[in-house]
């Protein structure tokens, strides 16, 4: 008992010479266990909240994921990807957008390499590559149309399937009898299934119905006795070729070479009362189809390969009408059948899809589209990162300086360069042959690329205007400050959509010279002014937190007002308002959806056009809107992550200031 550290019973106390040795904290209060106890299960109510919240989240995500895997039909995304991404941007010019995407990935990788980055930096770039990859496959070769199948049953009439074909195209028609009950449990018959004929009832509905009957035991598919004739006709209704499928000779395959460009259609006739059919082989007449004695029973797929049927793409449809004329009006087997509509519940897949079926029928087609561009994107990023990192670790400091200078210059020219690449030149012959880019009218821009253009152009232009307005509002000259206050308050007091309507309708009325300006430019001006007004107020908030002493110190050193603002006030004020500015930017990114109301089809507007305007996609709204939501979220996340990185990096960050 030579060293006693605490003797509370004594009035006077002198601590021993040496302080007591440090001990570890109690085990239950540190580490992951300690974290859980402290943060999630500290009390009964806290535990309850944790359990309920986690339960709700789990339930929501379970529903979402199982629906996405087992029920959703994602092919709508795949089939309309080009429209959603670039709108009507000409297919043969999409490489320009690809070039911009590659440049973006390259510059990001270079910056990450030379300035260093954490895991989140890589994650952000990976997300950027995924978004960029969505632009790339759509410019590639035209997707091979999937084979068309439609179901034929003993009772339901089948309308004609219309398609276009060029001279010497080969069309293959085949009958695939369904004479095995086990098929009813397979989902694969729906791969590449397309409904397109004006009068046909929904094959999917019929098939779902048949499946249900098989499961219930009221239908036996092995009881096959279907006799039908498959006919290929031209637009005038002249039969070009036909083949008969009989109960004994079920599988029929035949090819036909089209005689000319134009519309054709396939039609199936069920033969219920035919005579026996004979074929002459080596001079002997052999019956290949006996006279029918049994009732028509059984189901079969009619499959058509090598044709181009419907198109969801407006440009394609226009092109097609130009080349082949209008779609022929084809006589339906009966008027009632022509009136049938494809109802949502009829065309959707029913029942649970297995995970392997999801991979095969949903994910795989999508991945096949984007895998090449994903690989290219990551390769470009890694190459750029290696260059940057090599320069950073090089013993020669000037090489780091050179690479970081190249990166900065690259970013500065990136935006104007992208604009030039996107729009091309009005008179391509007047520029250097290397740059001879034909003009792409801005009215053709659409989809996600338009959203991105709207967002980033108005953000970059609004930023300096916002600074000027904020400084102007604080100006000592009353005329300037009144003008700025008036501008800011008027713009902030008006809904964005009103500004967009003004840009569309009122500006050309007052300023005749503006009426020829592209709508996109006018809307960009509107968005820019709107953002500038909000930015000005945010920046003014930042200016107000700069202590007066900073300005006085700067004045006392002899810096003029311009230098005081440029070197002292703005760097501090802007850094302080990065979070607010970024939330304004993300909000602008989402507000660009409003331009679809005044006639530009950006990402959301394009989706609406697709799923509401095209009957075949109407059943798939859920998938399409979910996809839109995910893409908006990813891009917003990229933006806010970048802003957090900006906050944490650079000289004299907020963190360093707080350490004082």
């Amino acid at each position: 008992m030579s060293e006693v550290y605490h003797r509370p019973d004594e009035t006077f106390y002198v601590a021993p010479k040496e302080p007591p040795p440090s001990r570890r904290p109690p085990a239950l209060t540190i580490g992951p266990v300690g974290w859980l106890r402290k943060n999630l299960f500290s009390s009964v109510s806290n535990t309850l909240i944790t359990v309920i919240t986690v339960g709700l989240m789990a339930a929501f995500f379970y529903e979402l994921v199982t629906w996405s895997v087992a029920k959703a039909e994602w092919n709508v995304v795949n089939n309309t990807m080009r429209l959603m991404m670039v709108g009507l941007y000409p297919v043969d010019q999409i490489w320009r957008i690809e070039l911009i995407a590659i440049l973006l990935v390259f510059l990001s990788g270079l910056g990450l390499g030379v300035w260093g980055g954490n895991a989140r930096g890589f994650f952000i770039i990976a997300l950027m590559i995924i978004i960029a990859a969505l632009f790339i496959p759509i410019g590639a070769e035209k997707i091979e149309p999937p084979p068309i199948r439609f179901l034929i049953t003993p009772t339901d009439a089948i309308g004609p399937v219309v398609f276009v074909g060029d001279k010497d195209d080969t069309v293959r028609l085949s009958v695939e009898p369904i004479d095995d009950n086990a098929i009813a449990n397979e989902t694969s018959p729906f791969v590449g299934f397309i409904e397109n004929s004006p009068g046909s009832s929904s094959s999917r509905a019929l098939w779902n119905n048949a499946k249900a009957q098989v499961v219930a035991g009221t239908l036996d598919l092995t009881n096959y006795n279907l006799q039908l004739t498959v006919q290929l006709l031209d637009r005038s209704g002249k039969v070009l070729d036909e083949q008969l499928s009989t109960p004994t000779r079920r599988r029929v395959n035949f090819e036909f070479k089209l005689p000319a460009d134009g519309w054709y259609y396939v039609q199936v006739l069920r033969d219920e009362t035919s005579e026996a059919i004979y074929e002459t082989v080596d001079g002997v007449q052999l019956p290949i189809a006996p006279a029918r004695t049994l009732p028509n029973t059984g189901y079969a797929w009619i499959r058509i390969d090598g044709v181009d049927t419907m198109s969801s793409q407006v440009a394609d449809v226009e092109q097609r009408t130009k080349t082949y004329g209008e779609v022929p009006a084809i006589q339906c087997p009966s008027a009632a059948e022509c009136r049938r509509l494809l109802l949502e519940e009829n065309t959707r897949f029913e029942g649970a899809r297995s995970f392997s079926a999801f991979l095969k029928t949903q994910l795989d087609p999508f991945l096949q589209e984007i895998i090449v561009s994903l690989v290219v994107g990551f390769a470009v990023m890694l190459a750029a990162y290696s260059i940057g990192n090599f320069a950073k670790q090089s013993r020669n400091p000037s090489s780091k300086k050179a690479v970081s200078r190249v990166t900065i210059i690259g970013w500065i020219i990136f935006f104007p360069l992208s604009w030039i690449l996107l729009s091309g030149f009005k008179d391509p012959d007047s520029v250097h042959p290397f740059l001879r880019l034909p003009e792409v009218a801005q009215s053709l821009w659409g989809g996600l690329i338009l959203t991105i253009v709207l967002t980033f152009v108005s953000l970059t232009v609004a930023f300096p205007i916002g600074i000027l307005l904020a400084l102007g509002r604080r100006s000592k000259l009353p005329i300037i400050s009144i003008f700025c206050i008036l501008f800011i308050e008027v713009v902030r007091g008006v809904p964005l959509i009103t500004i967009l309507f003004m840009a569309k309708f009122i500006v050309p009325y007052f300023a005749k010279s503006m009426s020829d300006t592209e709508l996109l430019i006018r809307l960009l001006v509107g968005l820019t002014l709107f953002t500038a007004a909000y930015n000005a107020e945010i920046i003014r908030g930042g200016l107000q937190i700069i202590p007066k002493g900073q300005i006085e110190a700067s004045q006392a050193l002899g810096l003029n007002p311009f230098a005081t603002n440029a070197f002292i006030v703005l760097p501090q004020a802007l850094r302080a308002v990065i979070p607010a500015m970024m939330s304004q930017s993300v909000s602008l990114f989402k507000d660009t959806t409003l331009v679809s109301i005044v006639g530009l089809f950006e990402f959301l507007g394009m989706i609406e056009l697709i799923v509401n305007g095209q009957q075949i996609y109407r059943p798939y709204q859920r998938e399409a809107y979910l996809f839109v939501g995910v893409i908006y979220f990813i891009i917003s996340y990229i933006m806010s992550s970048l802003s957090r990185r900006l906050e944490e990096s650079g000289a004299g960050t907020v963190r360093k200031m707080r350490k004082a």
Binding site: G549, A553, L557, A563
Partner: protein, 252 residues
């Protein structure tokens, strides 16, 4: 006019003639008349609210006076921006709350104005900064941010920053009031060294020890007017005015 041109030759580097100033209706400076010679150290003391800070802030135009005349190095302070900038180049100022630029390193704090106002090349500016940091005793802090320094160190950086412009006059506005007692001495030592080197200094302070040791003259202000001007010996040992006596009896 002839008086103005003579003022430089007369050896007075700061002259205030009948200076009056109001904040709104409030009359802060009343008929201030005062002169400071070159290489002189003048300490301004007085109770808070007496207008002493306002007075030295008027001298480099951080505050604007409404009546009277202020001449600095023969240049009259007017609304002419050229004059104001010329005077600000001649006067360095050190603030109570340091007012270092938190987003710039110590080195950048000291070199910014040199490069932008004096148009000095980067290398020269940095040499000057290193020299001055040596002089104020913190050469090793050049690449830190102000937030990473103690109060005393920050104030010494602020002095170095003002000196980097090679001013003829240094104005100190309560330079030690915001400091912990342990740090006051390091700042005062720098100021004493500066005074010994012959810098013209106008110091608003509550450090009576400093005033007694370093000042050539002491100005006592109360409610906006100058009450008494004298040598430190006279002022502290044998003050003339009743108000001065009262003030000294309260603080000593």
């Amino acid at each position: 006019m002839s008086e103005q041109s003579n003022s430089n030759g007369s050896g007075y580097i700061i002259e205030c003639q009948d200076v009056n100033k109001w904040f709104g209706e409030f009359h802060v400076l009343k008929d201030i008349n005062m002169k400071v010679k070159e290489r002189e150290v003048v300490v301004v003391i007085g109770p808070s609210g007496s207008g002493k800070s306002t007075l030295i802030r008027c001298i480099n135009r951080l505050e604007e006076h409404q009546e009277g005349k202020i001449l600095v190095d023969g240049i009259e302070l007017s609304n002419d921006l050229k004059n104001i900038n010329a005077i600000r180049r001649e006067t360095g100022m050190v603030f109570q709350s340091f007012n270092l630029f938190p987003h710039l390193t110590v080195m950048q704090n000291i070199t910014l104005a040199q490069r932008y106002v004096r148009r000095r090349p980067r290398r020269d500016a940095e040499d000057m900064a290193r020299q001055l940091l040596q002089r104020v005793g913190i050469p090793e802090q050049a690449n830190k941010y102000p937030g990473q320094l103690s109060g005393g160190q920050q104030q010494r950086v602020a002095i170095a920053r003002a000196l980097a412009m090679q001013p003829k006059i240094m104005l100190f506005d309560e330079p030690t009031s915001a400091l912990d007692p342990e740090m006051i001495k390091e700042v005062l030592d720098v100021m004493k060294e500066l005074a010994r080197s012959g810098m013209t200094m106008l110091v608003v302070t509550h450090e009576m020890g400093f005033a007694r040791e370093v000042a050539d003259r002491v100005i006592f202000m109360d409610s906006g007017r100058i009450v008494e001007i004298g040598t430190p010996e006279h002022f502290f040992e044998n003050p003339s005015h009743e108000r001065t006596k009262l003030f000294l009896s309260q603080i000593l």
